[in-house]
């Protein structure tokens, strides 16, 4: 408990110490380590503070149980890396940034530690405001920051309504398991949480906010912030229990979102918008896994409970891999972006030679993790979700079977498209040819240390994933078979349905490829290196295959979905796409503007009598509600 308090206190000290941003980020780093310890402690033993009665009937407390402990550990890993990264990276930004950075971390920690809806909402709002203020760091980011705030407040309103419904049905503000919940509560809080998770169609704010925000903030927006949404969904599941219809809803939203995010990422050309859409995709996968878990759990039979637990484990793994890999990706991308002062993927080519091997390797590792490349942790998570969806035949109802099968198709497509987009990102940025652009140098020891930390975590987390499963308490999904010793084999069901062993994969690959390669390398003569053949001539600067060209064929084939527009005006030409979901908000925007105009003209038009009548009606309605 002490570590939780210490963590919250240190974050607040970090806010106060922002006049010395170096110290402020160090404080955030210490607070993050403290919250990690608190999370690990909670995974072993739950703890809670005594209730503090604010007003009669309202008692608030903080504490952690196993679920919030797991999420706090995952979030803390990201906090540790980001706060350490920000000690150097933060020098490029104002002092206020350090305060808002600490504030948002405080809010997120409070969300996970909240035992009641009041604390939860305080944490939720503090987190949102802290991030909003960080997005405002850039001069031209007002519109995008307010768009983020609008979605954030829409999420908060849905949560307030949901928690009010929970209070009405249970008579308590507690959000612990066992509280009586209604379907209305579940619908409203789910809405609130999926808005935060950037689930389709509530994701349109991401492209502007992620690209405008400093990279450490973008990482917070993408990884820990959306993790709060996942945590909220899991918390709601623990309150309301398994239900079929809710699972179906989550799965439908999740699968569509995963596909949509991956599809948009495949066509994206901006250095930070591509990872932003990847967030939509990953959170869609997580939501699908939770939905499947709820659907399977609702049936109550033993085989379905096994599937439910495995799907939940998949959700945890994808959440973990996404948090680590996305934090790393934004950190590495931000490192390159600030070094080269460029925004587009096309213009940051050659990171390996220009900026350095560590950020390039960071992009490579995180990209491979999102591409489900073994033995990264992303591979394990995505293998798990596909294995879980492949077991759709176990459902009794045809509707559930069909939905699960379709969700499986969409998720498989999403994973394929994600690999497509990540190959683009890796191929152009990390491994792309150096165009001789001079990188701006700044102190980056802590930046590189953070990148190394997360890179190692993604690789080791994948290789030793059987041990992670054991720590999480899912040992029944571990086993051994033939030459693979127990517990290095991950089982997707019990009895066995599908198996994988990332640990053995590394051993086999090491033995079959790496060892022979090293032996060959020792004895072989020096290889002669030549340029790749390009029609017999060296490529000139304007002959390199560009990023838009990489995905144009996909955009053209799916032009109705991408809303692809080819424009040619004289000597200029370009291709543009538009996210279909934006049309929804354009319609909403038009409607609100017209309504505002109508209300302004008819009621708020300067006639005092009408205006007083309007105030009275609004007051009465508010009072009644």
């Amino acid at each position: 408990m002490i570590f939780l308090y210490l963590s919250l206190a240190l974050y607040l000290i970090g806010v106060a110490a922002s006049s010395r941003k170096y110290l402020s980020y160090w404080t955030a780093f210490a607070a993050s380590i403290s919250s990690l310890v608190a999370g690990i402690s909670a995974m072993i033993n739950s703890f809670s503070s005594p209730g503090c009665s604010i007003i009669p009937g309202l008692s608030i407390s903080v504490g952690l149980d196993a679920t919030s402990g797991i999420f706090l550990v995952v979030a803390s890993i990201s906090f540790i890396a980001l706060s350490f990264y920000s000690i150097d990276f933060g020098k490029l930004f104002s002092r206020k940034m350090a305060a808002w950075f600490n504030l948002s971390l405080f809010g997120m920690t409070l969300v996970m530690a909240a035992q009641d809806s009041v604390n939860f909402m305080i944490g939720w709002e503090v987190m949102t405001i802290g991030l909003f203020l960080q997005i405002l760091e850039r001069k031209d980011s007002y519109e995008d920051a307010f768009r983020f705030l609008a979605f954030g407040e829409a999420s908060a309103m849905a949560l307030i309504i949901g928690f009010a419904a929970l209070f009405l049905s249970s008579g308590t503000f507690s959000i612990k398991a066992g509280v009586t919940a209604t379907p209305f509560f579940l619908v409203m809080v789910t809405l609130g949480f999926i808005i935060k998770m950037d689930i389709f169609p509530f994701h349109t704010w991401i492209t502007g906010s992620y690209s405008k925000a400093p990279s450490n903030t973008a990482a917070l927006l993408s990884a820990p912030l959306t993790l709060m949404g996942v945590y909220g969904i899991v918390r709601a599941l623990s309150i309301a229990g398994y239900s079929d219809w809710w699972g179906i809803g989550l799965m439908a939203f999740g699968a569509v979102s995963a596909f949509w995010g991956a599809m948009q990422a495949a066509a994206e050309r901006s250095l930070k918008k591509l990872p932003a859409y990847s967030t939509v995709e990953n959170n869609g996968i997580i939501l699908t896994a939770i939905g499947l878990s709820a659907m399977a759990g609702a049936s109550g039979s033993q085989p379905m409970m096994v599937l439910s637990r495995f799907a939940f484990l998949a959700a945890l793994f994808v959440a973990f891999s996404h948090t680590a890999a996305k934090s790393l990706l934004f950190m590495s991308v931000g490192h390159a972006k600030e070094s080269l002062q460029e925004e587009s993927i096309d213009n940051v080519r050659g990171i390996w030679s220009n900026v350095g091997g560590i950020p390039a390797f960071g992009i490579l590792t995180s990209g491979l993790s999102f591409s489900a490349f073994p033995p990264t942790i992303g591979f394990v998570g995505e293998w798990m979700i596909l294995e879980a969806l492949f077991q759709s035949y176990k459902f009794q109802g045809n509707a559930q079977r069909l939905l699960t099968a379709f969700a499986g198709i969409l998720i498989a497509l999403a994973i394929g498209l994600a690999a497509f987009s990540m190959i683009k990102l890796i191929g152009y940025t990390a491994l792309g040819p150096d165009h001789g652009k001079k990188a701006h140098r700044f102190p980056s020891l802590k930046i590189r240390s953070s990148e190394v930390f997360l890179t190692a975590l993604i690789l080791l987390g994948g290789i030793f994933s059987p041990f992670l499963i054991k720590i999480l308490g899912y040992s029944n999904f571990l086993g051994g078979l033939l030459a693979v010793p127990d517990p290095l084999l991950i089982l997707s069901s019990n009895p066995i349905f599908g198996v994988v062993s990332p640990t053995m994969f590394v051993v086999v690959v090491g033995f079959l490829f790496i060892v022979p390669y090293l032996l060959y390398h020792r004895s072989a003569k020096k290889a002669r290196r030549v340029q790749a053949w390009n029609g017999g001539q060296t490529l000139t600067e304007d002959e390199y295959f560009t990023v838009p060209a990489y995905s144009f064929i996909l955009e053209y084939i799916l032009r109705k979905v991408y809303r692809t527009k080819e424009t040619r005006m004289g000597y200029t030409a370009e291709v543009t796409n538009k996210d279909l979901a934006e049309y929804l908000y354009e319609i909403l925007d038009k409607f609100v503007r017209r309504l505002s105009y109508l209300v302004g003209r008819t009621i708020m038009n300067g006639k005092i009598s009408l205006y007083i009548l309007y105030i009275v009606i609004v007051f009465v309605l508010a009072f009644l509600l």
């Binding site: 096309d346 390009n534 002959e543 295959f545 560009t546 080819e566 370009e574």
Partner: protein, 417 residues
């Protein structure tokens, strides 16, 4: 003395003349701007089509060549694109420039013919014929009727094998493996036939000034007609099958479309122009081609160009058959055979020679001083063919590229000289 400085391709004016101070054209079009444009066109013809560029997010120059699997000769296509869609095309054939016109200066007329034949292997006879006509015109040599007919037979043979080759290339691009193999077999048979009757697979070294350079047995022409008839039947069968292949037709239909207005503005001739519905063929002006059926099509796409070529194959077979018959009649009436290569006088003068090569109008302007070449200028169809390729490719996608290029029958060697 008025000299030619070039043969441009715009507004159907092919010849520009100058006296060292002023430039005239053979058309009514004039004006300094027009002349400057024509002169630039002439000056640029050794380099290719350059200077066109498109800018924008993601637009880049996709260079295809100069030494690339899909490009048969040394030359480069610069396709400006943002991916798949071709936005603008520059074509660089400077790699193939050999300066053959300059190297002909100072040579005797027979040696100059050898140089002309070296311009482009596939059009060896067309070049030789146009050059010989120019020299004969300069020296006011009357060409006997029998020689004119033998030359027509050789020219039409060249047209047939070139058209078959172009169609086989289209079939190959569309992965019509069986059809491609059969067409290539016919192409090989045609080259063997050339060798058997003219002593060269590509009809080289046969033509001469006022006669043939090699002995020619016109009694054997009956065998030529028979063998050619058999090859024509084989091609007819294949062509009918090709037209039934929806996959093949789909790749050619609407690909690299060119309308007649654009085609005429570019100055392109031959099957490309006729595929846009324009009935223009230099052979129509030639009295020896009496009754020529000029094949045309309306669509202006790759399919239309293939259709025109196929029709011309059948037409050429008929022409050869008719010419063989007429030669027999001439021989029976006791006329001198075409192989009587008269001695060429060492005269001076200038002349222009034309011929309808397989890919369009080919023209030579020559000047002679005491029997030696003092100036040569060749206007080859491929220069205009490449301009047409560049124009028609805009808006198409990469996968249309081979279907476009092969349908025009343009060669870097022919353009670059």
């Amino acid at each position: 003395m008025i000299r030619a400085v070039g043969i441009a391709g715009c507004d159907q004016d092919k010849l520009l003349l100058h006296d060292g101070k002023k430039v005239w054209s053979t058309s009514e079009a004039s004006g300094e701007e027009w002349i400057a444009k024509q002169l630039k066109s002439v000056a640029d013809r050794d380099k290719g089509i350059t200077g066109q560029e498109v800018f924008g997010d993601g637009v880049f120059d996709f260079r295809y060549g100069p030494v690339t699997g899909g490009v048969m000769e040394a030359g480069a296509y610069h396709l400006y694109t943002y991916g798949e869609r071709i936005l603008c095309v520059n074509i660089d054939w400077s790699y193939k420039h050999r300066g053959l016109e300059s190297s002909a200066i100072g040579l005797g007329v027979e040696d100059a013919l050898n140089v002309a034949e070296s311009v482009c292997g596939n059009f060896a006879f067309s070049h030789s014929l146009a050059m010989s006509r120019a020299i004969e015109s300069a020296l006011a040599i009357e060409v006997p009727s029998q020689l004119r007919k033998v030359r027509i037979i050789a020219l039409e043979l060249e047209r047939i094998y070139n058209h078959i080759y172009a169609i086989s290339q289209l079939a190959s691009a569309a992965a019509q493996k069986v059809m491609t193999s059969h067409l290539q077999a016919i192409y090989e048979d045609l080259l063997r036939l050339n060798n058997d009757f003219f002593g060269s697979r590509f009809l080289r070294g046969f033509n001469g000034i006022s006669g043939t350079a090699k002995p020619f047995n016109d009694e054997a022409l009956i065998h030529l007609s028979r063998r050619l008839g058999s090859l024509s039947d084989r091609f007819d069968y294949l062509y009918e099958r090709a037209l039934e292949s929806e996959n093949f037709m789909d790749r050619l239909h609407d690909t690299a479309k060119l309308d007649s207005e654009k085609a005429e503005k570019i100055g392109v001739t031959g099957p490309t122009l006729r595929a846009t519905g324009v009935r223009e063929d230099f052979r129509l002006q030639d009295q020896d081609y009496e009754g020529l059926r000029c094949a045309t099509s309306q669509m202006g796409d790759s399919l239309a160009r293939m259709e025109v070529r196929a029709e011309e194959v059948f037409e050429s077979v008929e022409i050869i058959s008719d010419m063989s018959g007429e030669l027999k009649e001439l021989r029976d009436s006791g006329s001198a055979p075409a192989t009587d290569n008269k001695s060429v006088p060492d005269g001076s003068g200038s002349g222009i020679g034309y011929c309808e090569s397989p890919s369009g109008l080919l023209a030579y302007y020559v000047e002679l001083q005491n029997g030696k070449i003092s100036s040569v200028y060749a206007a080859t169809p491929s220069i205009f063919g490449f301009k047409a390729i560049g124009e028609s490719l805009v808006g198409n996608i990469f996968t249309d590229f081979p279907f476009a290029v092969e349908s025009f029958g343009a060669y870097f060697a022919d353009a670059a000289r």
